[in-house]
Symmetry: C2
Subunit: 215 residues, 2 copies
């Protein structure tokens, strides 16, 4: 496994190439922070893009769902997929409309999905899913039983053809616009948690990993 | 324009059909709150999913970018597109791994993109873009000049074939798991702003519409 992922024609960032990131750890960090991805696949020649939960274990990108899901049934047949993950970091407010932008980190993975048929890999992956979304929770809850395992399809895409694109920093304005009296800068944004809402009948304390939850 | 959008084979929500939403205003509200979308299109038979900024004006969904953008050049040729927008509202922590979920609101629009060639429509759309991202800002900044207009491609997709999917509320556990002593409930999540960061040399006060910014 190399530290830098070799680019292909479709992963090389062409628009604003200096935003391209091909470092494996940097791509992994984006995948690991994000809670949802958007999976693209082709049905009858037309694109379909569906939001879903992804998670990573080593160099495998996993996602899952009901065995009855149309998306998963499509993907398990080895069709091409494109998984895109985007983290919005802020609004970039420039002096001109044209130079307005957003700060973001996005990752794109191309590949063919593989149905995880090995029971051990599926169980390990489903455990990693809970730990990806809420670290610390998997040891407290009931794991999947046989019926639930059968009802769940787990798919994996190897993270081989992938790249990221990142924008950071303030606005870059045209020279003659800097004299404008308007406020310019970055309004940082972040996905944050609000007060936890306990389910009816819960007597347990809110666990530390929920109270301190951070992406 | 009808209040309810007629479903097609690909917009009807099949998995968990009670989460399907076909009300036009509800779909618009999701599009208007979201800051980014994921656009899917097909290149050489394979799916490509790219994050970008979208905005709405009436029943038109717009997006834009550099005239040199590969995505936009692909789309302007009238190929099929799928635009998906997802708002994450919270983590749903159940007593069993299987019943963990997320609260979300997502919208999917299928259609063919049209290149906005009319100068007036393009200018109006670019103004609406700034107002979509930061309401109140368009009157303070320099609008696009002729060179910038030429360098910008604006595309529109009519919001005709569209649906939304929404999950709200707490976990739904299996009857026998409710006795477990584990905490269960919802951890609400929200995209929030942090302290604004002024660009170098800015002397203007942080405007009200930035200080009070909310999605």
């Amino acid at each position: 496994m190399t530290a830098t992922i070799e680019t292909t024609d479709r992963t090389r960032v062409r628009r604003l190439p200096k935003r391209g990131v091909y470092d494996r750890e940097a791509i992994y960090a984006i995948l690991d922070e994000a809670l949802i991805c958007h999976v693209g696949f082709v049905v009858d020649g037309a694109p379909v893009v569906i939001p879903t939960i992804h998670w990573r274990d080593g160099d495998q990108l996993y996602f899952h769902g009901s065995s009855a899901s149309r998306m998963l049934r499509n993907l398990r047949d080895g069709v091409d997929a494109c998984v895109t993950v985007t983290l919005l970091d802020g609004l970039v407010l420039a002096r001109s409309a044209f130079h307005h932008s957003m700060n973001y980190r996005s990752a794109v993975i191309f590949g063919k999905a593989r149905l995880v048929e090995d029971r051990e890999e599926a169980l390990r992956a489903l455990d990693a899913l809970v730990e990806h979304v809420v670290p610390g929770r998997s040891r407290e809850i009931r794991g999947p039983n046989e019926i639930e395992l059968k009802a769940t399809m787990v798919l994996a895409i190897p993270i081989e053809e992938a790249s990221a694109k990142v924008r950071t920093g303030g606005p870059i304005d045209d020279e003659e616009d800097y004299a404008m009296p308007v406020w310019a800068g970055v309004l940082p944004m972040k996905l944050t948690t609000q007060e936890p809402v306990a389910d009816t009948g819960v007597t347990a304390e809110v666990p530390e990993y929920v109270r301190q939850y951070k992406r």
